[in-house]
């Protein structure tokens, strides 16, 4: 789904492009606790940038720094070229959608949405027109007179979205925007969000702990861990080329092996892993000292199960099927290797032929393409 948006130019690859948000060495401390640690970040106009990380990783704090609710302990934030130091939230060209939605309980839906426009001292007719317009976009036109407590969770979420969009901000901050919704509604609203973002051309910065949400929504993802940004990239880059063991492990599921570099050439590397019988051959080079210790990551869906012993000398191993979880579109196998190590393998269920299905305790050979494994140090 991220594919649809890569057609648009990728400003982060252009060294001369002007970043819309520039976060420079921002650190935020609460007492002795460092919530955000020396973070630098560039977000470009029209992007949907996701800050992804577990709870307590500092992603919400960083968002609140952008909104102006927290002042950074050090470092600076520029939005549209303007230094945000000392500028209060009510003077920033930024709107935020709160995780709890923070709808005003004593105002109707229309009252909530109109609030921001009233602060701009617009004419009543202008306000009414724009409120009506945005409520139509989020499909809440009929609910204008309801109070928040008379709405469902999904409707409240859309009121919060309408309220933050009605001021036509250049930058919209979303804190776990879909967190409170059930699965069906989440998927639906995700695409609604994308549609609205494309229609209005707003830059989104989204905070989420849900990688699926980050993958589907974002043009780029910043993975955060312990107050630091550990990797920034497109969803595809983050998934296929994790820069560190943490990212590989955090995004999706992965089989991680410890190994030692035995061959390190320009066009390939060979890694010896105790837990896999054969060496791992990777078709891209890396530069590391000889015999360095490294890790190898192979995604479950990139491993192929077979009954025949592969002819190649590397990139395969042998084991028995320990556990099977049938998911409908695919099946998850836990395969116990000869070394005792358990490996996760997913196969898509392409046919209904019984002879193609693997059963418990069956001997299988696991193999993968030389382009699949990711090798990294540290």
């Amino acid at each position: 789904m991220a594919e649809t948006r890569t057609k648009t130019p990728e400003p982060w690859l252009d060294p001369h492009a002007q970043a819309y948000i520039r976060v420079e060495n921002v650190t935020k401390r609460f007492g002795t606790f460092v919530a955000v640690n020396n973070v630098s970040l560039k977000v470009f106009k029209g992007e949907i940038f996701c800050l992804l990380g577990g709870s307590g990783c500092g992603k919400t704090t960083l968002l609140r720094v952008l909104a102006g609710f927290e002042q950074p302990s050090s470092g600076s934030v520029f939005i549209d070229g303007q230094d945000m130091a000392g500028i209060p939230p009510y003077e920033r060209p930024v709107n935020m959608m709160f995780q709890s939605y923070a709808l005003f309980p004593h105002m109707s839906v229309a009252g909530n949405v109109a609030f921001g426009l009233e602060q701009e001292k617009l004419k009543r007719e202008e306000i009414d027109r724009r409120v009506e317009e945005i409520l139509d976009i989020v499909k809440l036109g009929e609910y204008a007179r309801r109070k928040p407590h008379q709405l469902s969770g999904g409707q409240r979420q859309r009121v919060a979205l309408a309220r933050s969009l009605v001021k036509r901000p250049k930058l919209l901050l979303l804190d776990e925007p879909l967190g409170a919704l059930d699965r069906k509604l989440r998927e639906h609203t995700q695409f609604e969000l994308l549609g609205i973002q494309e229609k209005l051309g707003v830059t989104f910065v989204v905070v989420t702990h849900d990688q699926e949400e980050a993958m589907t929504l974002s043009s780029r993802v910043g993975v955060m861990n312990r107050g630091e940004i550990v990797q920034v990239g497109t969803p595809r880059q983050i998934y296929e080329f994790p820069a560190s063991r943490f990212v590989a492990d955090f995004i999706g599921s992965v089989n991680l092996f410890e190994g030692q570099l035995t061959e390190d050439e320009q066009d390939h590397v060979r890694v010896k892993c105790e837990e896999l019988g054969t060496p791992v051959y990777v078709d891209h080079g890396m530069s590391a000292p000889p015999l360095a210790l490294c890790w190898v990551a192979v995604r479950p869906e990139k491993i192929v199960l077979g009954r025949e012993r592969p002819a190649a000398t590397d990139n395969w191993t042998h084991g028995t099927i320990h556990d099977i979880a049938y998911m409908g579109d695919m099946t998850v196998f836990m395969v116990k290797l000869d070394s005792g190590r358990k490996v996760r393998v997913t196969q898509s269920n392409r046919t209904r032929k019984p002879e193609e299905q693997f059963v418990w305790d069956e001997d299988v050979y696991l193999s993968w393409d030389a382009s699949s494994p990711v090798v990294g140090m540290g």
Binding site: A67, G68, F69, P88, P89, Y90, E91, V94, N95, M96, F98, S100, A102, L103, F104, P105, H106, F115, G116, Q119, E120, H149, R163, S164, K167
Partner: protein
């Protein structure tokens, strides 16, 4: 369990004679006693009966007695009023209601002016309590949780001393050769002592001082529950702090304002001690009139009529309060 399921073999009545009874008991036994009490008729009436009996005994019955006396006539006897019931020719039971007492309240200007004065004093005092109490309650609600209890303790602390003593203490502060006048004269700010005793000013000071906690506590309990992200949302949408307060905090604290205002206004209307000790002698408040009518004039019927009229006067604000409470309940 097994007895209940009937799985256990009945055995013989000779070896287990209690078995049929045991099974019957299990069949009739409610699964959980608490659920039984909740679901059946004994629970709810029992719980509501206690306050109901209390209200009937100590509110309804005295009210009906006073209401009855207000239709009677004053006589020299013990008790000093005529019975409403009487026998005509020893045969016909008659009920005699004198509406004259109520009529009298309107003919003598003393009563109307006392009522109006009481309402005015109570209203002004309530306003001052609100103006003083709101920032205090707001400050306490916004202070760190560890400090809040200390502040609340300080608000309640004066109750450790008798209310009467604290009002007497104000006499020492306010009188012509009292603490305030002496300090001001010593500083050279005034040559002549300012007359503060027996003025409206002294009554306002007394009432505001005494009733301030009743304003602060309900306001605090309301403000403390406010969701702070609402103010962040308002700021995010471009509202300056003062605007956010006026549009978000103030409307959301209305139930607290109403509760606090009624808790001050209602007792202040009928206040007796404070105006008697600090207030004017040429203009009485209705509480004082009521007491004089009972104890000085010994005219119980008129005193009862005054009391009933005062009650009617206070029922309006109580009903406003009830409406707000119901509306708040409906929100939850």
């Amino acid at each position: 369990m097994s007895a209940r399921n009937g799985k256990r073999t009945p055995g013989s009545l000779l070896t287990r004679p209690w078995e049929p009874l045991w099974q019957l008991f299990h069949r009739l036994r409610p699964a959980r006693w608490s659920a039984y009490v909740r679901d059946h008729w004994i629970g709810k009436p029992l719980v509501t009966a206690v306050p109901m009996i209390w209200l009937v005994l100590f509110f309804m019955v005295p009210f009906i007695i006073v209401f009855g006396i207000s239709f009677s006539q004053s006589i020299l006897a013990i008790p000093p009023y005529e019975s409403l019931w009487g026998w005509v020719d020893d045969k016909v039971l008659t009920l005699r209601l004198h509406l004259g007492n109520y009529n009298y309240l309107f003919t003598d200007t003393l009563y109307v002016s006392s009522y109006l004065y009481s309402v005015k004093v109570a209203a002004v005092s309530t306003l001052f309590c609100l103006l003083l109490g709101y920032p205090m309650a707001y400050g306490i609600a916004r202070s760190p949780p560890t400090q809040r209890n200390i502040f609340l303790m300080l608000i309640i602390l004066p109750f450790w001393t008798s209310f009467l003593l604290r009002v007497y203490a104000w006499i020492g502060l306010l009188k012509s050769n009292g603490v305030i006048n002496n300090i001001l004269m010593w500083l050279g700010l005034i040559d002549q002592p300012i007359t503060m005793m027996q003025t409206d000013f002294a009554v306002y000071i007394g009432i505001v001082y005494s009733y301030l906690p009743f304003m602060i506590l309900p306001l605090y309990s309301n403000l403390e529950k406010h969701d702070r992200t609402l103010l962040e949302a308002a700021a995010d949408l471009g509202a300056r702090p003062w605007k956010a307060f006026m549009r978000i905090t103030l409307p959301l604290s209305m139930p607290g304002i109403v509760a606090g205002s009624l808790l001050v206004f209602i007792p202040a209307v009928g206040e007796y001690v404070i105006p008697s000790l600090l207030g004017r002698t040429d203009q009485l408040m209705i509480g004082r009139v009521l007491s004089d009518e009972f104890f000085e004039n010994r005219d119980w019927p008129v005193a009862s009529a005054v009391a009933i009229a005062m009650l009617v006067l206070l029922v309006v604000p109580i009903m406003v309060f009830q409406r707000y409470q119901n509306r708040e309940l409906a929100h939850k």
